[in-house]
């Protein structure tokens, strides 16, 4: 569960579910792919849904004050945050 590949796959599937990206677009996300502000589907409600689903699917708890705008800037940032939380 804590393997980096598993976290990456879980996160891609989650973004596909919430943003309706489809498998191809989700698989094509790179570290530099923009999320909040870059994908029109990624609004504040989507941010909230992604956070709750990350908690459920990765088995982590995310604190309010851990979240800043940067986490959602790129896929790489979101993945790095998730990996950090999973190994904490």
């Amino acid at each position: 569960m804590t393997e980096p590949d598993t976290v990456d796959a879980t996160l891609r599937a989650l973004l596909a579910d919430v943003l309706g990206l489809g498998e191809d677009r989700a698989a094509a996300l790179t570290d530099n792919s923009g999320l909040f502000g870059a994908l029109p589907e990624f609004d504040s409600m989507a941010v909230a849904t992604v956070l709750t689903e990350m908690e459920d699917r990765l088995g982590i708890l995310i604190d309010d004050d851990e979240i800043d705008g940067e986490i959602f800037e790129t896929y790489g940032n979101l993945l790095a945050f998730s990996l950090r939380k999973v190994t904490d």
Binding site: D17, G20, A46, A48, T52
Partner: protein, 228 residues
């Protein structure tokens, strides 16, 4: 005092006498809109298979004239119990997501639940959407400060004006144990149906295959329970 306007119920019925009625309890808040299209496709499939299907509006949701700030989970539960009591013949209650939090008191021959979720989890997402929207508007709020304000006055979160009673009940609500009950999740295996969690989706979507799977699973459960 004027009598309250009855809530709208979407009914899809078979041409002959129904084998049984399936009363759907929709997901709560925005999740209801995101799932509605697929749910209605499932109702059509059930009607084609000889079942009557009903999808009631919860007071304060969808086309209801009741202000959302006046309702709470107890009132929703009560409304469903009354809707169920008005249905003739064998009844199966089928609830999705947050609908599973209010389905336990309706009198039914069997229950079916898809992807149950805790009230706390729903509330957390709504509160986070409010915090994220506040941040975009350069206002400072936190889950804690919002929770504190919500004890005494209705709180507007993600477009929903929720009463202190609703906030408190949501915070602790879990699906109750009932029997006979079949609970399915999304995925693969005997206790799951294949599909997409449309209730999470930022943009509306539909999943016809999932609707067919929902209808087939409910029909099979009806037979297992000896209903028809």
């Amino acid at each position: 005092m004027a009598m309250p306007t009855p809530e709208h119920i979407l009914r899809i019925t078979p041409t002959r006498t129904p084998r049984a009625t399936i009363l759907f309890v929709p997901p709560l808040f925005e999740e209801a809109n995101r799932s509605r299209r697929t749910l209605v496709l499932a109702m059509r499939a059930l009607a084609a298979d000889g079942f009557a299907a009903q999808l009631p509006d919860l007071p304060g949701q969808n086309e209801s004239l009741v202000p959302l700030a006046e309702v709470d989970l107890a009132r929703w539960q009560d409304a469903l119990t009354k809707t169920a009591a008005a249905i003739d013949g064998p009844l199966i209650v089928a609830s999705l997501r947050g609908g599973t939090l209010i389905d336990h008191s309706a009198n039914a021959a069997a229950r079916w639940r898809l992807a149950p979720v805790s009230g706390a989890s729903l509330l957390r997402t709504l509160m986070r959407a409010r915090v994220a929207a506040d941040r975009e508007a350069r206002l400072t709020s936190s889950l804690d400060s919002l929770q504190a304000n919500a004890v005494t006055a209705p709180l507007l979160i993600a477009g929903n004006l929720l009463s202190p009673a609703m906030m408190a009940q949501l915070g602790s609500a879990e699906a109750r144990p009932v029997a006979p009950l079949r609970t399915v999740t999304l995925g693969s295996g005997a206790e799951a149906i294949a599909g997409t969690p449309l209730w999470l989706r930022a943009e509306p979507g539909e999943d016809a295959a999932m609707a067919a799977a929902i209808a087939a699973d409910i029909a099979a459960w009806s037979q297992t329970c000896g209903i028809s």
